[in-house]
């Protein structure tokens, strides 16, 4: 305490030190800051699911595909459209980083056909057919081949696709622009659509930060305006903003200094710091204002000293508990989330230092804020300002308790409906071009998203075995019966196609033959006459491991989960044959990743609540206070998840992290309130008075804080990106429920607990 007061004597030096450190951090950011855009870097590479998936992706050359759909409302079987398919296929094949074999279209596809006298593997066309009869033959060829019909050419024959599989490193800005350029160039009379997960991720990675860059200044402007209205002082507003701004610079500065890249999750750090950091200043200024109101003639040194005397402890306590709460995120398996927790904690601690050093020092230099009209007007209706909330709640304590229980009950009900979604597409507006394209392709073809199911046997040649392949076929049929699974593809499809072709194209032979010899001989035949490269994507060299690709119409977690559930039903039957089941592919990794983030988030929430209870118990030397102080966090968390469930907002990587705000804000409010309550209780010894004064003093600061942050974040509701809108809504909601939870139910519990009032003296209620 004494040391803190020294700041008032050495204010220039204190500010100089802050300026120098900030300068160092800014320099570090300038020279060292970098964004991490490679999504794979976000995933814990040592997690068994990722290790397996990566291995399988390498083995079967599983890559993400870009899909270019060419639509001609007159039908695709005309010279012009077929020429475009050929030209565009060649252009894409010649692109940097693309392997020729990874581009599939009607132009490159193999046509395996059977006839009375044999089997042939041809291309559908090399020279673009011009005559009516040749075009007709092409159409008949496609119709007869269900490995192409419905897969490369739509069933209504108006759309055909070119699919280019690319590796993660191929996708760059140039690549993205080039693909979009092609789509423009080849437009008319055909319409071209570009889709596929690399495009979705690429677009998201470009547009979302841009949207945030546009929205963030608006958020800050609104916060400045509201701060000006509430604090009625430019000086106070500036100092308050500096606390938030500098703490953000320090957090990112340290990150750059330690050479840690900025992950997309890190963009949540400033949001946390705005919501939490603004509170410190507001509490200080609120106290200062009330002090000046009581002692209008006080000089600035005395006024600031008094504010510090009363506020250093709660500010320090809130900062420490909040920081510890965020630090609990290091239990997460996901590195970006760990860093998010650590650097937010560091930011919170810096915000605390700025509040306790920069604000007093700054005020010493620039002088006290002189809130206009304040002393004159507000002194008159002192009671009104305390909103009489204390008496209102105490009178209706049962109603308050019942309402709280109802809110908690409804929230618990809502929580049961919360669903997880790690979909990338869900990040776009329903009417955005990318969603429309995706839907268009999903309507005409099997699906834009895929799940890879990897079956691994304990012996070689297992997948030449008839029983095994029949079970694979059953599994695929079961999968395809799901509404969202458009198609599936495996070694079994090759065998069935060959069996049919070798038996005069009779439909009853579209099945797995009974003998292993037959299967082995078909495979040999395929190698001899087809493109054996096609087999590498479905089976390994020893016929010991196969890859089933399920094409799905959505990348959301529900769809992936549904497909996985079907596969899991087959696990026992495959295990009986000595076969193990695993999953692979980008969609699956995203699904596991989403789960990891959530698990980490939920366990760290529980952990942080426990830590908070312990810390507060130690700080206030009272376990009951520890429990009472956890009430706002609990209420905020429950309402947050409950609302998400009720409003059908899925839990994703970002929305999950928002619940961290509950910890930061909930603790702040509880500590400020309890600390002040305790002080007034000691001062007055009167429960009613204590309630009224705490409500008036701290309650007011809490209200201000909530109003400032809520109005700022409501701006995000105008964002064009659903995740940014959800962010705005949920941050606002969390601020609101922390505010209400603290001033109603927590206040009531504190009041009824009779702590800080000796028995007998407090029986006046």
């Amino acid at each position: 305490m004494k040391n803190i007061k020294k700041i008032l004597d050495y204010s220039w030096i204190a500010i100089l030190i802050i300026v120098v450190i900030t300068g160092i951090f800014i320099f570090a950011m300038k020279s060292n800051i970098r964004m991490e855009t490679d999504l794979d870097k976000y995933m814990p590479q040592k997690h068994p699911a990722f290790v397996y998936s990566n291995q399988a992706e390498e083995l079967f050359e599983i890559k993400d595909g870009i899909i270019i759909a060419i639509e001609n409302s007159e039908g695709i079987y005309n010279e012009g459209t077929l020429q475009k398919v050929k030209d565009l296929t060649k252009e894409i094949q010649n692109m940097e980083g693309i392997e020729k074999n990874d581009v599939t279209s009607l132009y490159t596809a193999d046509n395996i056909v059977g006839s009375d006298f044999g089997m042939e593997v041809n291309s559908f066309y090399k020279r673009v057919p011009t005559s009516e009869s040749k075009l007709e033959k092409l159409r008949d060829d496609v119709r007869a081949n269900d490995m192409v019909y419905g897969r490369i050419v739509s069933l209504n024959e108006k759309v055909t696709i070119i699919r280019a599989e690319i590796s993660d490193t191929t996708f760059t800005d140039d690549f993205y622009n080039q693909i979009l350029n092609f789509a423009d160039e080849y437009e008319g009379p055909e319409t071209l659509y570009v889709a596929g997960s690399p495009i979705i991720e690429g677009t998201l990675g470009r547009l979302m930060p841009k949207d945030m860059q546009k929205m963030a200044p608006l958020v800050i402007i609104v916060i400045i305006l509201v701060l000006l209205i509430i604090l009625r002082s430019i000086k106070a507003t500036v100092l308050n903003l500096l606390v938030v701004l500098l703490s953000t610079i320090w957090a990112f500065g340290l990150m750059s200094l330690l050479n840690i890249p900025v992950y997309s999750v890190s963009t949540m750090i400033p949001i946390m710091l705005i919501a939490i950091g603004v509170a410190y200043g507001i509490h200080l200024f609120s106290h200062l204002e009330l002090y000046l109101q009581k002692n209008p003639d006080s000089d600035k040194r005395t006024a600031i000293a008094d504010t510090l005397k009363h506020m250093w402890k709660p500010v320090l306590m809130t900062a420490v508990t909040t920081a510890v709460g965020f630090t609990s995120l290091i239990t997460s398996e996901v590195y970006p989330v760990k860093y998010f927790g650590l650097f937010t904690a560091f930011g919170v601690m810096s915000a605390m230092i700025f509040a306790l050093v920069l604000i007093p020092a700054g005020l010493m230099i620039i002088g006290l804020p002189k809130p206009k009209q304040f002393v004159r007007k507000k002194a008159a209706d002192k009671d009104k300002v305390s909103f009489g909330l204390d008496t209102w709640i105490i009178k209706r304590k049962y109603l308050t308790i019942i309402l709280s229980i109802v809110v908690i009950g409804v929230s618990l009900f809502g929580m049961s409906k919360v669903w997880i979604n790690s979909s990338f597409l869900a990040n776009f507006q329903k009417d955005s071009a990318i969603v429309i394209t995706d839907r268009f392709i999903n309507n005409n073809f099997a699906g834009t998203s895929s799940l890879n199911i990897v079956l691994e046997a304990d012996e070689v040649d297992k997948f030449k075995d008839s029983t095994t392949l029949k079970l694979v076929d059953d599994l695929q049929n079961e999968l395809e019966s799901l509404e969202m699974v458009g198609d599936s593809f495996s070694l079994a499809d090759f065998i069935k196609r060959m069996n049919k072709v070798m038996n005069e194209d009779k439909d009853e032979f579209n099945s797995i033959p009974d003998s292993q010899e037959m299967i082995a001989q078909y495979l040999l035949l395929y190698e001899m006459s087809g493109d054996p490269e096609n087999l590498t994507s479905v089976v390994d060299y020893e016929y010991q491991t196969i890859n089933i690709t399920a094409q799905m119409k959505s990348d959301d977690t529900k769809t992936i989960k549904g497909a996985i559930a079907v596969v899991e039903d087959f696990r026992d039957r495959f295990n009986d044959l000595g076969i193990d089941i695993n999953f692979a592919g980008t969609g699956y990794r995203g699904y596991v990743f989403g789960g990891l983030i959530l698990d980490g988030q939920i366990s760290s929430l529980i952990l942080s609540i426990l830590i908070v209870i312990i810390l507060i118990t130690i700080m206030f030397k009272n376990f009951i206070i520890g429990l009472i102080a956890s009430v706002p966090i609990l209420v905020t968390t429950l309402v947050n998840f409950g609302t998400m469930g009720l409003l059908n907002i899925p839990l994703g990587p970002t929305t999950a992290l928002i619940s961290s705000i509950a910890v930061g804000i909930g603790i702040d409010y509880a500590i400020h309130f309890i600390d002040r309550y305790k002080e007034y209780a000691a001062e007055t010894g009167d429960k009613q008075k204590t309630a009224k004064m705490t409500m008036y003093n701290t309650g007011r600061a809490i209200l201000f804080n909530a109003v400032v942050v809520i109005s700022g974040f409501l701006v995000l509701l105008f964002s064009i990106f659903p995740p940014n809108r959800q962010l705005g809504a949920l941050v606002s909601l969390n601020m609101f429920s922390s505010f209400v939870g603290t001033l109603t139910i927590m206040f009531l519990l504190l009041y009824l607990s009779n702590i800080y009032f000796k028995k007998g003296r407090s029986s006046t209620s």
Partner: protein, 259 residues
């Protein structure tokens, strides 16, 4: 005196021209010689084909094969001996000197049927190996432009190093480089470059010998660097010019299999 001088000069000139011509065999001539090198009226052998992929996994196939020349045409019949699940699967091809596309049949014992198959292109890979049909001897020298780059010796054999650039820019290989043994006209080694001019694969001859006066290659290896995939071809029990009946190359023989 004068006449003698003229005579001497003329003789010298002639000698120079002749000597020069001798040294200046063209790349095209070298490759013509390779293409036209006699391989014998018929050949039979057991072929073991070992495919190794980038993970070190292997597939081994054992094939009994018979080849016979019918004038400009060539007929070939192959029977699988191993692995056991494809035993007696047979394959027959007739290729024609007039450039007409090959006829091919396959017999699957499990299906008990002989089927015609067609390969759309000579640049298709042969049975999942790293050899295309062209690599196994099908490509006519006139399809490429040949240049002798230099002469050097490989494993003690004096070779011409010939670069062959494809006239068709769409062909699988933009160019190949062959090391051809002088006077014997078989290759010791060959490098293949893909359409974009990047190194694709290399063929190495591990063993060569003469049987009944014909050069044969009992062991060769193709390594595809881009795919990190290797095919080893080993020939055993090679018999050349011992006579194979014309009736060996029929569908009936395919179905009878090898005993």
């Amino acid at each position: 005196m004068k006449k003698a001088k003229v005579l001497i000069i003329s003789l010298m000139l002639m000698a120079m021209v002749l000597g020069f011509a001798q040294a200046q065999i063209t790349g095209a001539q070298v490759m013509e010689n390779v293409y036209n090198r006699p391989t014998g009226p018929d050949i039979q052998s057991t072929l073991t084909m070992t495919l190794t992929n980038s993970r070190g996994s292997t597939r081994v196939r054992e094939i009994k094969q018979f080849i016979k020349q019918f004038g400009a045409d060539e007929k070939k019949i192959m029977f699988f001996v191993a692995p056991s699940d494809v035993k007696n699967t047979s394959f027959m091809s007739w290729s024609y000197g007039d450039g007409q596309s090959d006829d091919m049949w396959i017999y699957l014992p499990a299906l008990k049927k002989t089927k015609r198959i067609s390969s759309s292109s000579k640049s298709d890979y042969f049975m999942g190996s790293d050899f295309t049909y062209d690599d196994l001897g099908g490509r006519h020298p006139s399809a490429d432009t040949h240049t002798i780059l230099r002469e050097e010796s490989v494993n003690g054999e004096e070779c011409y190093v010939v670069e062959s650039v494809s006239k068709d820019s769409d062909y699988l290989y933009s160019k190949t480089i062959s090391w051809v043994v002088k006077g014997e006209w078989f290759g010791m080694k060959k490098e293949f470059y893909d359409e974009d001019g990047d190194f694709l694969k290399s063929l190495t001859i591990n063993e060569h010998k003469q049987i009944n006066g014909y050069w044969v290659i009992p062991e060769m290896e193709m390594y595809n660097e881009q795919k990190d995939h290797t095919t080893l071809m080993q020939l055993k029990d090679i018999k050349i010019g011992e006579g194979i009946k014309d009736s060996q190359f029929t569908e009936r023989m395919m179905e009878r299999g090898i005993r």
